[in-house]
């Protein structure tokens, strides 16, 4: 496999946190590669390091040791400011609890990351409408999160994640707060994004049904990969 085919390359990553005087090792020399266009499910018990790994891949945290490359860029050595700019361009993040800004309409929530790019208002509008159309919420532009169902809010969250057209989408328990019907719809949508828009998708999940949708399931335990199917 060539480096250009790799979307994510995690090399010998250690991550530890300090709790008072105690140092807790969460990831211990972990290596992982995710290819372009791949749909990966990260599974494991609570405290196994799934979310920590996801945060490292998304540039939300830095490893204590080791390197993280995303599409050839070593994000583990970027400054906070560089990481912020990089996240806008390269990563779409889907949260378990949607985390939409409650005071903003669906349109404004989706527009939020575009404000950071040098786009005109017309260009932003076009991209927001496209993203909301992809997730099937063109009719809910002016609704605030409180006026939408959980499934609809998560769709807005996904629209916000794809509106900047990132190559990588990471999702932390995207179906964790949804009923099974809505969860299936969201998983269908993620699958469709990967298929039609060729996105690389990494989801952290406890739900075996969600993981089953992935091309590859990766299991973590005590900060190490235990299996990869």
């Amino acid at each position: 496999m060539t480096d250009s085919a790799k979307c994510v390359d995690v090399r010998n990553v250690h991550k530890s946190f300090r709790r008072g005087s105690e140092v807790v090792d969460v990831l211990n020399g972990l290596n992982l590669t995710v290819n372009e266009g791949e749909f990966v499910g990260l599974m494991g018990p609570s405290g196994s390091g799934k979310t920590t790994l996801l945060n490292l891949i998304a540039g939300l945290d830095r490893p204590t040791e080791g390197e993280v490359f995303v599409r050839g860029e070593m994000i583990s050595s970027m400054t906070e400011s560089q990481l912020a700019s990089w996240r806008t361009r390269s990563i779409g993040f889907v949260f378990q609890f949607y985390n939409l800004l409650p005071v903003l309409t669906a349109f404004r929530n989706v527009e939020l990351p575009l404000l950071l790019l040098p786009l005109s208002a017309a260009e932003r509008k076009k991209q927001v409408l496209t993203a909301l159309d992809i997730v099937g919420l063109s009719e809910r532009l002016h609704h605030r999160p409180g006026q939408l169902s959980g499934g609809q809010q998560q769709r807005v969250g996904i629209a916000r994640a794809i509106v900047t057209d990132p190559s990588l989408i990471v999702a932390d328990e995207p179906t964790g707060a949804l009923d099974s019907k809505s969860a299936d719809e969201i998983l269908d949508l993620l699958g469709e994004l990967r298929k039609s828009l060729h996105k690389t998708i990494i989801i952290v999940t406890h739900d075996p049904r969600a993981a089953a949708r992935a091309d590859r399931e990766i299991h973590l335990d005590k900060g190490q990969l235990v299996t990869a199917q």
Binding site: T51, T52, N55, A58, L60, D61, E80, S81, A84, S85, W86, R87, T88, R89, F93, F95, Q96, F97, N99, L101, P102, V103, L104, R108, L112, P113, L115, L116, A121, R160, D172, E173
Partner: protein, 421 residues
Amino acid sequence: MKYLFLVFENIRRNLIRTILTGLGTMVMVLVVTLVFTVLTSLDKSTTEKQKNLKAIVTEKWQIPSMMPYSYAQALSEGGADPGDPDAARPDDSMSWGFFVGSTEENPAKRSFENLFFAFIMEPEKARTMLDEVDALSDEEALPLTAAIQKMKDVPNGVIIGQERLDKMKKRVGDRITVFGRNYRDMNLELEIVGTFPKEPARYADSSVISRDYFNRQLDAYQRSHNNQPHPMAEKTLGLVWLRLSDRKAFNKVSEQILKSPSFTSPAVKIETSSTGIGAFLEAWRDIIWAMRWLMTPACMLVLSLVISNAISISVRERQLEFAVMKVLGFHPNQILLLVLIEALLVGVLSGLLSAALTYGLVNGIWGGLPFRIAFFPKFAVPIDALWWGAAMGAATAFVGSFYPAWQARSVKVSDVFARVT
């Protein structure tokens, strides 16, 4: 600009809290504006001018100054020797005596409501020499000019400030009898011929009566008292104002007056009006100091704390949102700015609104701030108060919101989400 909707939406998020913060800001800005109104007016009066300055001649060793009226003519010439063409002479002058009385004959019923205070002076000098009146345009001074003109036909005419007129429940054209207090047994029959303009508000409680008329009343008193002059007859000149072109002219006139043998009994002193007013304000030094250095900073501090408290609560509630914004790519400094702008917007708008309301209410409805200090009965809120209010709101909002904004900037994404999940 494209971020402004975020600021507005966040301000609208908890409207009650925003309104309460705004009201808190408005109250504090109101207090500081009123304090500044008094302080800046006093500062203005005590600031030394280099050109077109005014000098005050008063009795040297006694307060209140009570000089013989015979000094008036020579002092108004700056003590210049009539035969010396090279002597320095003032550009203009005005003599003041003071008549204090009451419109109530019965001493037991005399009160502030029926108090009468008048400058005994040359009426036409009210237009050219009275502080701030001399700066009015002809149009602004029109009612006063008309009243001065009328005093030529009505020797016992009196010009009374509108507020005093209202307190006395009198109107222009009415006649009043004033019973003297500092001039005992001298009662004046006066006809109200006009009022002072609304601005400057400092004359709203004062009056002007003619020096010629008053001198005739003193003569009448003497005739009716077995040719005995009134006990105060030789003490009717309180001070003389001189308008001088510059410091050089002031120094020359000072020298002429102080060296003149005509002004030795009693001796006189001459000082610039700012120095004179400054000396007069010495009695209020402590209260002015406290207003400037205790009250104003205390208000600003309380205002900063009010804003800090409100913004801190808001930031604490929105930690998750700031974390999400960081995930989306917002830079820490952008988040800092967004929070600061929210606070600044509330501060500036509340400050501006408060100052505008203060300006409108105090000047338009009250006719000035009734804070009696020295001979300033009222203070008009200056138009500068509008930018003071906005600047005060902005400064305190900035100070008060900086720490909470820094906390918002410093939100650690992984910590916030670790707490959530």
